[in-house]
């Protein structure tokens, strides 16, 4: 219980993704970290590590490192007074949310890939189990300013992935995120909205009802304390959680300066699979997706089945190859096809004319025409042979 209280405290003291705090907690544990902030004195060994790490990045002298760390500590300390971890836990319970911490059974261990920027704890609100929801999951992300095309495709991907048993992780925002969640709700798998605000804050407020449904069939997740409003940096830092939770990320519509490309960057940095859906080249909304594909950073996917194949186990979840209609003539040997191509459509022609046109000898033409007539490709008319109309058959 003391560790839980310490972690709730840390959520208040440090901004999400604060890697300095993450390192401090990794080195001495959450309770000792809080205690050091309270005392206003950091462990000398940690101070040395910080200076070494900065020197390793050629980020200045030891004095500058000390000064920098003093300012970081001062910022944490400034938040001590307003923090009330016991109150936060009580408020979370009132709101129907629950807190999970590393090591608990519902904690998704893939978040360990985030190392020093791993969240101290997560607030969850909803029916699903986060760990199970994310074991087989795909992040579907994209622009808030999505086009009708993007919204349509995102809903298709959300539904198609959910139908295939893949949890759909996204950010709960307008546009692609919302459409992906809504699509996923049509399937059986849970959908997970990772928010940049507290799980009790409906942002955007127009998604209040969507979040209510997501809670019944999935989860709202946040590393921010309850009541916290989103800011631009929090959106960006939140994106690493989306990328880390899912096996792979699919970008559907992202302009060249879209937050979705930030999520894509996290996916690559975390060795997750990255895919992008192409769109009209006339649409700026797909320019970021095309750039990812052009750069080879993302695989081009066009259907939920292809996305599932990509993140699925090798040999499982294989997407069907796209195929056109199969025509009856497809099965014919090359020479027979040449004869068939030389048969006129309307008036009819004699075998000798067909032979010259096809570039095949007369004997072959005579042999072929019999078979072609039997198969219904050609028919004999008064002036010779002509084609019978052909229809595609299902392949």
């Amino acid at each position: 219980m003391r560790e839980r209280l310490a972690r709730v405290m840390l959520m208040r003291l440090a901004e999400p993704g604060d890697a300095v705090m993450g390192r401090l907690v990794a080195s001495c544990g959450p309770e000792a970290a809080v205690e050091q902030v309270r005392r206003g004195v950091l462990d000398p060994e940690f101070v040395r590590w910080f200076a070494d790490a900065r020197r390793g990045r050629a980020a200045g002298s030891a004095e500058e490192a000390d000064a920098r760390l003093d300012r970081v500590l001062a910022a944490w300390t400034a938040r001590l007074e307003a923090a009330d971890p016991a109150g936060d836990l009580a408020e979370g319970e009132r709101a129907g949310a629950r807190l999970i911490t590393p090591g608990e059974s519902e904690w998704p261990t893939q978040l360990d890939d985030l190392r020093d920027s791993r969240p101290h704890a997560l607030w969850l609100h909803g029916q699903a189990n986060l760990r199970f929801a994310c074991i087989r999951s795909v992040a579907v992300v994209g622009s808030r300013a999505a086009t009708p095309y993007g919204v349509h495709v995102a809903a298709e991907f959300g539904a198609g992935l959910s139908e295939r048993g893949y949890g759909v992780v996204s950010g709960g925002a307008y546009g692609i995120d919302g459409a992906a969640h809504r699509g996923a709700l049509a399937g059986d798998a849970p959908t997970v909205a990772v928010l940049a605000c507290g799980v009790d804050v409906s942002y955007p407020s127009a998604h209040h009802d969507l979040f209510a449904v997501v809670r019944t069939q999935g989860l709202l997740v946040s590393e921010s304390p309850l009541g916290v409003r989103p800011t631009r940096p929090r959106f960006l830092v939140r994106n690493r959680l989306i990328a880390a939770l899912a096996r792979g990320t699919v970008v559907i519509e992202a302009a060249v300066r879209s937050g979705a490309l930030n999520t894509a960057g996290h996916a690559v940095a975390l060795n997750r699979i990255l895919a992008a859906v192409p769109g009209p080249v006339t649409s700026d909304a797909s320019a970021g997706c095309h750039r990812l594909i052009r750069q080879g950073a993302a695989v081009c996917v066009t259907t939920p089945a292809e996305a599932a194949e990509l993140v699925g186990a090798i040999g499982c979840d294989l997407a069907p190859e796209p195929r056109g209609p199969v025509l009856p003539r497809d099965g014919l040997p090359a020479e027979v096809r040449r004869v068939l191509e030389a048969v006129p459509a309307r008036n009819g022609a004699g075998p000798a004319t067909i032979a010259v046109e096809a570039g095949v000898d007369l004997e072959t033409v005579l042999a072929c025409l019999g078979g072609l007539a039997a198969a219904g490709h050609v028919e004999k008319v008064s002036r010779g042979w002509r084609l019978r109309p052909e229809r595609p058959v299902a392949g």
Copy 2:
């Protein structure tokens, strides 16, 4: 002159792309090849080569090879009677067309890459010089059943490539081909329509006027004799010429069974550059393009500039990277941005509140606010500091 007559004869005797005839001509020259067909007896050395080549492909016994070659020879012989090379040359002159043969100054030497399926000669009709038109050229191909999106993009690519001095090679068909030619006519570079019929045949007939304009600013090209109608095999065989003439091929809209994918296959086989333009994943017309990109066979291109960069010399014709709007805050140091993000938009907040929100110490906040106010990002109001509205500046 005798060689020219022999080559015109060969265009009548063998179907375009007939690699057996190509090999015969390569081994003994066009005149001797015609002579052998006339006599009805092939050179024993060539017969041996044919049997060896078939054995190498495990395509049957020596007897089967002989029988096969007899039938090939019979098909050539069957066309002897109707062939009139002197008449063809005279007719070409009347039609305003001209014949070029390998070794002439206008012959594009890149056609040598076709080896045994190199055309015996080409009929040209138009003002441009074929060799110069193709030295710096891109093939733009795609479905006849193009969507309005595909037609728009093809016209943009045709125009954009032509403006950059790239000849645009295509097949003169409905849909993407026609739009690419029309777009190219808007630029200065010549456009080349490689037809599957005689250069005097307007196929499709609705392109009669387009072909007339192409002749004034470019060329109609065909390896078929005058008056010959197109057949399905001739379209496919013609595609190898399109791929071979251009430095690279761009596929714009191709369903999964489109002839454009056949051209794409030739481009790959000929070590030419292959690119494809993505489109809506909801459109079957782009499915072939997406498959080429997914398989890694084609590079994803979205603008004519990117296509030009791809086929251009290394370091030349570089396409601009797509960029979003640049915001004034982009240039700020990370810490200053954190402070800026913590400043409220409307009511104003004091420095201490901003410091806690930003996770930065008070001293830093005070230093940052001064600079941010001077740069016009924030303003002081009665209740503290608040944001000033920001507009993107041109990048």
